[in-house]
Amino acid sequence: MTIPVEGILLIPVAAALLSAVSPNSRTASAVSIMGSAAVLAVSIPICMAAFGGTVTEYGLWYVDGLSSVFILIIGVVGLMSSMYSYGYLSHDEEHGEIGSKDIRQYHIMFNMFIAAMLSIFVVSSVGIMWIAIEITTLVSAFLVGFYRRNSALEATWKYLMICSVGITLGLVGITLMYASASHILGGDPGALDWPVLFGAAADLDPMLIKMAFIFIIIGFGTKMGLVPMHTWLPDAHSQSPTPVSALLSAALLNCALYAILRFQMIADVTVPGFASVLMIGFGMLSLAVAGAFILISKDIKRMLAYSSIEHMGIIAIGFGIGSPLAVFGALFHIIAHSVTKPLLFFSAGNVIQGYGTRDMGDVRGLRKSMPATAFMLGAGTLAIVGLPPFSVFVGEITVLAGAVDAGMYPVAVLTAAFLVLVFAGFTRNIFPMMKGEPEGEVKAPRGVLRMLPMATLLLITLFLGLFMPEIMSDALWSIADWFTGAT
């Protein structure tokens, strides 16, 4: 039996409703975990079919290989994050920072957030995709402002304002694209459907598309965290509860990236090479600025947030280069980043709850006080800076190889140089926390549901770095060939 696309969206909505009526916070957590597991289970058949070349397309919906990559990422990260949420929020509840009513609200918003993100990847109209992206901002604003501290409110306000402006500019871009398409397709009501737009891409007006893509990369780039529109990102990531930070970094940024990719595919047909320059330019700038800030960061979650900007930069460069090899690398890097970053956020969450501070300078003796967390944090750090044998290494090296292969030597050299900078920043900040003696009392958090997602993510990132399953490499190669127009 195949479950239709609606099923993927209905499960998180149902989970949100069930958590609203749950008698206590424990049930609400269980509902979230089971809902996330169900989403993952239901999306696998549709995604596998899409990887095999069967595009699911009916009514409002459209799911192909590219969207499937993102749907599976949301499934995995959502499940891990919902598991981690349980231990994380229980700890806060025990220490009287939040009540069980807050936890229930958290789970309602958490599931709505998952539903909003999933709907971006399954709709065919770019207009509805825009609406879904805007809804993710609105829903996640409540999660970012979950702790009603002043600093969290400030982060939420910045997040709402900057992302709303960004998304409005993105809509200007969509409007311009629609103007060009409706001119050709006449009054066709499907002129906003992505497959229709892509099919007509060769006949669109180059001037309008250029203008549209500039608005789109600035608008959606705001939400993706590209420098210089990234200023909301470190604040929102550092102020939100840790499981939400992981979701923002590993799932939400991908949503805006996905929208940009869809439009890049259209722009590449209409005006070849135009989008590449912008993608590489913004990617380089993001990489450079994020690298510098990682080096000087004091707050561990801000540092991880800048690391997300850095990885979004690498991914943008990969897609900008635009050869099948580089696009393959960028696609793989999206997956690698999305499984590795939550591992780091979860470890950081343990440290923050144990020591009661986010300042890395105040944390000492981690290896003695929390050996398991210290191990995870250390392994995660090695993974995220791109050391072998972890998956991020494979992604980065493939993008670099793609740059060299395409003859873009300056891009390759600069990228490599910035990666060294990031490596220096991470080792300088993370490893001193391990040594020495812990000062004062450490409330080491425990629990299987904390360690299980971390161990799983570590195994996935290690596994993907060592062997790439054939089904995955086939799927990514076929998407890369299709993306670059090689087939």
Binding site: S125, G127, R148, L153, W157, L160, M161, T175, A179
Partner: protein, 219 residues
């Protein structure tokens, strides 16, 4: 309707919208700012109706109706209530004086004309000249968001940007598919509701809705 008359009416509405954006930049009171926004939305409604009538795109009547209900009545009413509850002070602080702001508005309008000039040649709609105006309204809205210090004024800047955007949608393609447009309206409504909620929370937490207190998060 006679084509010349409808053309004149369209120009009138668009120019009025731009002037109201500039008026909004010069006001120093929240109530005036909200009035300027409401009247601007009213002209947007008229514009939608005139274009619907003269081009036969009947779904623009619906768009006009929603604009009237949401942007002329709903949002200004709700924001006025919130600002009364906040005792928002009557002043709209700005990081820039009025003459300087107006000068920059003028520059923004010139930029909008330069940017949209090559695009206008490619369009065939009767309203294509509005594109530059639409871009001006968007840029002035953005400028207002950047320079104003009060949460309410920032929100109005965002809403005015959205008005400019709808002006653009109507002028270059006689509106998007209806599902999308209703969705976008629903969205605008949600954005203003949520911004209202957070403005209330900020005023409770900081005892002020002056967003210059929100400058603590940095490296």
């Amino acid at each position: 309707m006679d084509a010349a008359i409808s053309g004149n009416l369209i120009d009138l509405c668009v120019v009025a919208m731009l002037l109201l954006s500039m008026l909004a930049m010069t006001t120093t009171r929240i109530a005036q700012l909200l009035n300027a926004f409401a009247v601007q939305s009213l002209f947007l409604t008229f514009l939608a109706l005139v274009v619907a009538d003269s081009t036969g795109h009947t779904e623009l009547f619906i768009l006009g109706g929603i604009t009237f209900a949401v942007k002329v009545i709903g949002i200004p009413w709700a924001m006025r209530r919130i600002s009364v509850r906040l005792h928002a002070g009557r002043e709209v602080d700005s990081t820039m004086g009025i003459p300087g702001s107006l000068l920059i508005c003028t520059i923004l309008i010139i930029v909008a004309y330069l940017v949209t000039e090559p695009l206008m040649a490619t369009l065939e709609t009767i309203t294509r000249n509005c594109l530059a105006m639409s871009m001006s309204v968007i840029l002035i809205g953005l400028f207002m968001m950047v320079t104003r210090r009060k949460a309410m004024a920032e929100a109005v800047g965002l809403l005015m940007m959205e008005n400019g955007l709808f002006l653009g949608v109507i002028s270059i393609s006689y509106g998007m598919p209806l599902v999308v447009e209703i969705g976008i309206f629903f969205d605008v409504l949600m954005v203003s509701a949520i911004i209202g909620i957070f403005a209330l929370r900020i005023s409770k937490a900081f005892d002020s809705i002056d967003t210059s207190v929100l400058r603590r998060l940095k490296e």
